[in-house]
Symmetry: C2
Amino acid sequence: MANKKKEEPIILITNDDDITSKGIRSLVEAVKGLGKVVVVAPDKPQSGMGHAITIGSPLRMNKLNIFGDIEAWQTSGTPVDCVKLAVDKILHRKPTICLSGINHGANHSINVIYSGTMSAAMEASIEGIPSIGFSLLDYKADADFEASKHIVRTIVTEILQQKTPDKHLLLNVNIPAVPLKEIKGIKICKQAYAKYDEAFDERIDPQGKKYYWLTGEFKNFDKSTDTDVWALQRNYVSVVPVQFDLTNYTLKKQLEKSKLFK
Amino acid sequence: MANKKKEEPIILITNDDDITSKGIRSLVEAVKGLGKVVVVAPDKPQSGMGHAITIGSPLRMNKLNIFGDIEAWQTSGTPVDCVKLAVDKILHRKPTICLSGINHGANHSINVIYSGTMSAAMEASIEGIPSIGFSLLDYKADADFEASKHIVRTIVTEILQQKTPDKHLLLNVNIPAVPLKEIKGIKICKQAYAKYDEAFDERIDPQGKKYYWLTGEFKNFDKSTDTDVWALQRNYVSVVPVQFDLTNYTLKKQLEKSKLFK
């Protein structure tokens, strides 16, 4: 931004809970005045959509007037579609930063893989846009985002103050569901090694046919003290730097040495 | 498998193109005789679904009889749902290995992020199941999978011969669309740094309203000679070891040193 000192930052906001959720409204409020805010978000809940894109059917966009003087569009697509549409069809350029959330519910540890919130942020990162996903550890529709708004504003202000925000900056920020005075600080963390133990809930429909609801119990296998789960359990905000290079370099070296596939 | 010498391997097969595609049939044929094969795959195309899971609606499963004496189930879910259903409701245990594909079309470089094929394999890896996604660089419905079948059988045979297949083994295998005699070998690679330049195709529907089709041009920014794209361009099969820990450890170190968020 060294050459663009007088240019107002453009802040693209999206989410996965849908454009009418309290979380995205709180995110808009949190960054008000820090730049020109444009909202492009899904018209329906898209939680758990991961990095899905829409390739078999076309997309729709509609301009909404639900955030006062802030430009806002709802789309029929996934969170990742929203970022693509925003860059190509709405902004016609890359925004200064992309913010996703505030998600109703945790996106720590393995949740980063399933999360539409974080996939939208990752899509922006693939485009070379500094990007942050925010999640509050409270899935309720009327969750209290007051402390989250303060945390969001602190982090976004710091990033925007950097002379040249790293275009590969991609952060997964999770916020404990406690009042601001109980938050102990902000910790840089790694993604905890955890998973869900699935247990599908099997039911019988009125026609006598079986159907299945996905349920699961969260299991944290990671005992280290620099994980997001560790920090959140102690009322820290966790910040995990994320990347989209999925190469397992340790396994790559092992396989290169092994006789496999020679 | 040291303690289970006499136990037949259980091979779970899934895909994202749907259970009736030529690619999954070719995968089943490729591994015939290497173990007990069970197919659990989507009932409709799920390309580009990434790591999406179904949490807002229930799932259905139906047993099919389209692979001769091989047990096969179609589900109404995403590729990731298929793996979860297979482990919890069909196998009632972890399979020895999970194979996904053979995808009609490339899943090299950044495609790994969007790919339902690779997300299914990754879900199995999260569950602690050695897992491989296979893709042929030919998206046509009637693509020629003969060379691919040979490659698949070679790789799967080698993995199953290991005393204890690494439960974190997760491979993204891409196969060039050339006859077997033109394939130069199998190369262990890293994920190329590449992206799509989006250009939505804007159209007007019969009611006069706009709609948008996602299109994009593939751009490879990676000049290094150990990437999957590099290998495939030279008619090698590319094998990228993949991980689901998305932590950017380089950026983590930088942020820990910086004054950000202190």
